[in-house]
């Protein structure tokens, strides 16, 4: 049952997501539900304020770069200006002689020290910390200068001279599929994913991974269909641009390496650096602080391999602070081409769909092969269909590497399938909402890729956003040359599976708790959410549970903070550790009070016997147990999910994922028919989150992701010319400002509890961004009758399309 109720708007604490100028029609701006009412522990479902809010508002909060580092060598990096070339010589003499320079290191130096261990990456071990012999993109690090101050390091690095012999380069993803030239001579899968091992040593290709889905007979079903639509879609490469710049410091000491870094993946980095340096896992320490935003940019191998290799080689503390221009080269979001078609039978049911997907992963694979596979499984959308065909390929080109970005490749595919399904609805003469509604997957349905749907209320999300924008009401009247339209998009994404989380909980003798997890707070609110989950079980108050920042010497293994997986996975580990703590306290109190454990009830600071009404305070109980002040009681838990790997031939699996993200967006907008400008009057954003642990933070994730999605719909893009990045500064790269926020945004929380989520919760960080571009593109189509298949929908592009097709009457 959907618990959403748009009429329930009484809560005055809620944020008004409106500019105050939109006409009020009585619909809630914040359409979220009242939830399940008070819980036993009093924490879950509450709008607890963010941890450390005041310190972050006043700027006294310490991020990674604010931590004391002591005297370090700063790194300046010399980067390639060629997209593809053989390195003939690196002349470092001039840089070495600059006063204040401690050392100059080339890729050849690092390769001599570390061999092929220098090549790293989560899916393919293909990326050197400094280029060895060959550069594969313009911007690739070639040499590093270490100096006692940053300015000297950077200016000396600029003075390095490199001789190159240019090689033929490939910039276009489809030219790269056809190849040659080849970006890599052979494929080098990493040891992380065993199912990639068969690709090792393959040569003569730029396609580093191909996922195929084969369900039914698409050709026959398409031939028999009443209506078929098709199209070529393109989403450009974009960038994350978190405002905090990447920063990493490494200290070699006593045969160990200590690393403080802006990373979402401390456990991964520890493993990668231990492997690079040939050290034991307990000889590498990775610490993080909460991040100033990331969105996928600060994970896997970024600054860490270079900083660690330099520090280890020179046995000196080394610090690297990326400039904004350098950060643009560290990773990007994949540009994606999709060639698709979709068919319906005479009864208006979708009978077949196909998607041929090409991910441009740039010069290094990073996690691209996983993106191609995981996203490929949902490339035909969240619809019932008996026949589906997907080929999803990850392709090298001579461009900066592309990696994870909020949505993990799914927004680019959603742009295609949600545009196609809209066209199919129109071609069959049906309302786009009604058409989707008839075809959307329901609870218990098995999707084309073989896995059953649970806690994924696509219909509820779609109905909620359609109602919020008044889908069935006439369009607002606008004066020429503005023309109004509405559109919707629906999202489906699988959570990363399998993954592992651990939690260690310490209950301090004074009845405060310290939670040790390796989840990284980066704005998603995990420090608040995890405290709420522990507090729910232990009946605690805000501020009674403190979450420790990830430190691999202290906090236990956690796969990654990404993929919207933490609330579910780490949250479950926290819940289980807290339940063990509760059980332990009840046992201790049972002995102390001389009553059975089942008679004991935990409150925020005591255990009470129901039968005797006697109680013992938690400080007394723990003091009595250990006989000392300041002691700690510790419990721990692991939570691990499992999957069934997809079949090598059909790409299908009965258990591809632990849970599904389901969401929908509706857009109401106006297009200026003489300039091509788009003005969004209302964006309604719904996600089935299972259960909202903190509705205020869930709404912020929905709204924040939607605003990021507006940028990617209308202007966000990296521009390249022959492999050279043209707009890699914030003067040139446009991001959404307050001026780009829709006049009104309605976040809507849909709650269909997941059977094994912590209190029913899933995740929410990515869901809302996935269908935004498609909803906006469909609204543009509705407004002016043109279908744009290439993002972003810039005024120039829309104007050209309107002039080519003519505006709709």
């Amino acid at each position: 049952m959907t618990r959403n109720d748009l009429d329930d708007i009484a809560d005055s604490d809620r944020t008004a997501y409106s500019d105050g100028t939109a006409d009020s029609d009585g619909t809630a701006d914040s359409g979220s539900i009242a939830g399940y009412g008070a819980t036993e522990g009093g924490a879950v479902g509450q709008r607890w304020p963010r941890v450390a809010a005041e310190a972050k508002v006043r700027g006294t909060f310490r991020y990674t770069a604010d931590e004391p580092a002591g005297r370090c060598c700063f790194v300046g990096v010399h980067r390639s200006d060629r997209p593809h070339a053989r390195i003939l010589a690196v002349r470092t003499e001039a840089a070495s002689q600059v006063p204040g320079v401690a050392a100059v290191v080339t890729g050849a130096d690092l390769h001599a020290a570390f061999g092929d261990r220098l090549l790293s990456g989560p899916a393919f071990a293909d990326q050197p910390a400094l280029a060895v012999d060959r550069v594969r993109y313009a911007g690739e690090p070639v040499a590093a200068v270490l100096a006692w101050d940053l300015a000297t390091a950077r200016s000396a690095a600029a003075g390095i001279e490199v001789s190159y012999a240019d090689l033929p380069a490939v910039h276009d993803v489809d030219a790269a599929v056809a190849g040659p030239p080849y970006v890599h001579e052979t494929l080098r899968p990493s040891a992380v994913f065993r199912d990639l091992a068969h690709l090792s040593g393959r040569s003569g290709t730029n396609v580093n991974y191909e996922y195929n889905l084969r369900c039914g007979d698409v050709a026959a079903a398409t031939a028999a269909a009443a209506t078929t639509v098709s199209g070529e879609f393109w989403s450009p490469p974009t960038h994350h641009v978190p405002i905090e710049l990447p920063c990493a410091t490494a200290w070699p000491q006593d045969g160990r390496l200590e690393l403080l870094s802006t990373t979402q993946t401390p456990s991964y980095v520890r493993q990668a650096i231990a492997q690079l340096l040939g050290l034991g896992l307990n000889q590498v320490q990775v610490r993080t602080r909460p991040l100033g935003g990331s969105f996928g940019s600060k994970m896997y191998d970024r600054l860490e391999p270079l900083v660690a290799a330099l520090a280890w080689l020179l046995q000196r503390p080394v610090r690297m602070e990326a400039t904004r221009e350098e950060a643009f080269y560290l990773t990007t979001r994949h540009g994606v081409a999709v060639t698709g078609h979709m068919s319906a039978d005479a009864g208006g049911r979708i009978c077949a769909a196909a998607a041929d997907v090409r991910y441009d992963t740039g010069a290094y694979a990073d996690i691209g092969p996983r993106i191609a596979a995981k996203s490929g499984t949902v490339a035909c959308g969240p619809y019932r269909m008996d026949n589906a065909w997907v080929r999803s390929r990850c392709v090298y080109t001579n461009k900066p590497s592309a990696g994870p970005f909020r949505g993990f490749g799914v927004p680019q595919l959603t742009w295609a399938h949600e545009s196609l399904v809209d066209e199919l609805a129109l071609a069959t003469g049906q309302d786009p909402v009604a058409f989707r509604r008839r075809n959307l997957l329901r609870e218990g349905d098995v999707s084309a890729m073989g896995t059953k749907m649970h806690s994924a209320d696509f219909v509820g999300c779609l109905d909620a956003v359609a109602a919020a924008v008044g889908w069935d009401r006439p369009l607002p009247r606008t004066a020429a040359p503005w023309q109004c339209g509405r559109g919707v998009g629906v999202a489906v994404k699988a959570v990363l599976t399998p993954t592992i989380s651990n939690a260690v909980l310490q209950l301090n003798q004074d009845a405060t708790a310290t939670l040790l997890i390796s989840t990284v707070e980066m704005g998603q609110g995990s420090d608040t959410i995890m405290a709420q989950i522990a507090a729910e079980v232990l009946c605690m108050q805000p501020d009674q549970v403190r979450v420790v920042a990830a430190d691999t010497d202290v906090t236990p293994y956690d796969t990654i903070t990404a993929a919207s997986r933490s609330t579910y996975h780490t949250g479950n580990a926290v819940r289980l550790a807290a339940q063990r703590m509760r059980d332990r306290l009840l046992e201790m109190a049972s002995a102390r009070l001389g009553v059975p454990a089942v008679d004991c009830k935990l409150t925020s600071d005591a255990v009470l016997s129901g039968s005797t009404q006697r109680s013992v305070s938690l400080p007394d109980l723990i003091h009595g147990h250990f006989g000392a002040l300041g002691t700690t009681l510790t419990t721990e838990s692991n939570f691990t999910t499992d999957w069934v790997p997809y079949d090598g031939t059909t790409g299908r699996s009965p258990q591809i994922t632990e849970f599904w993200f389901a969401g929908a967006v509706a857009a109401e907008l106006a297009v200026h028919t003489r300039t091509g400008r788009v003005r969004i009057s209302h964006l309604a954003v719904a996600a089935d989150v299972g259960r909202a642990i903190n509705p205020a933070l869930v709404e912020q994730q929905l709204v924040g992701a939607a605003i990021m999605g507006v940028g990617q719909s209308l202007f966000d893009q990296l521009l390249f010319d022959e492999g050279r990045l043209l707009n890699g500064t914030m003067l040139d790269y446009q991001l959404p400002s307050v001026r780009d926020v829709p006049q009104r945004i309605t976040p809507i929380i849909i709650e269909n509890p997941h059977r094994s989520g912590p209190f029913g919760a899933k995740g929410v960080g990515e869901t809302a961004i996935i269908p935004v571009a498609a909803a906006i593109g469909n609204a543009v189509r509705n407004a002016v009758g043109v279908r744009c298949r290439t993002l972003p929908l810039t005024p120039e592009r829309l104007l050209a399309a309107m002039q080519a097709d003519g505006p709709a009457a």
Partner: protein, 154 residues
């Protein structure tokens, strides 16, 4: 070459030696320990380094430290926890990762000093040069409007 400059930083007199080409951003961060002043872009486009110089919002990443000689500098950490703008941002939940927020706080402080009761359009216009990549703009607008109500008694 270096120069000795004097400034009032959040009401405290400071005397520091700065390089002739040193940015105010670096002087505040590295010499005076101001963690609220942050480089996000280095080209004056994101607003994360915003401070008030004699009450006027200034991109400290584009300002030489020597230009601050004799100036009164206010940074976000100079505002007391019960300052109406700080209190309003906390109450409105106007932050996600929090990294850009002190820049918005300085812009709001400047705006309300000159116009105690700005309308939403005036607020939006004033913060249009600051980037919040988490997309916290609706909460930030609400916070500044609430701070205006609190300070103007409206």
């Amino acid at each position: 070459m270096s120069t000795t400059i004097e400034m009032s930083l959040n009401g405290t007199p400071e005397r520091i030696v700065v390089g002739d080409g040193e940015l105010l951003l670096d002087a505040l961060r590295r010499r005076l320990g101001c963690t609220s002043v942050r480089e996000g872009c280095g080209v004056g486009m994101c607003g994360a380094c915003t401070v008030l110089v004699n009450g006027a919002s200034t991109s400290s990443c584009l300002t030489l430290a020597v230009r601050a000689d004799g100036a009164e500098i206010t940074t976000a950490e100079g505002l007391p926890p019960d300052h109406p703008v700080v209190a309003a941002f906390v109450a409105a939940g106007a932050l996600q990762c929090g990294y850009c927020i002190p820049g918005f706080v300085m812009m709001a402080t400047e705006l309300l000093a000159g116009d105690p009761s700005p309308d939403r359009e005036a607020i939006a216009r004033h913060i249009a040069g600051n980037i919040c990549r988490c997309g916290t703009y609706p909460e930030i607008l609400n916070a500044i409007a609430a701070a205006a109500s609190a300070t103007s008694g409206g």
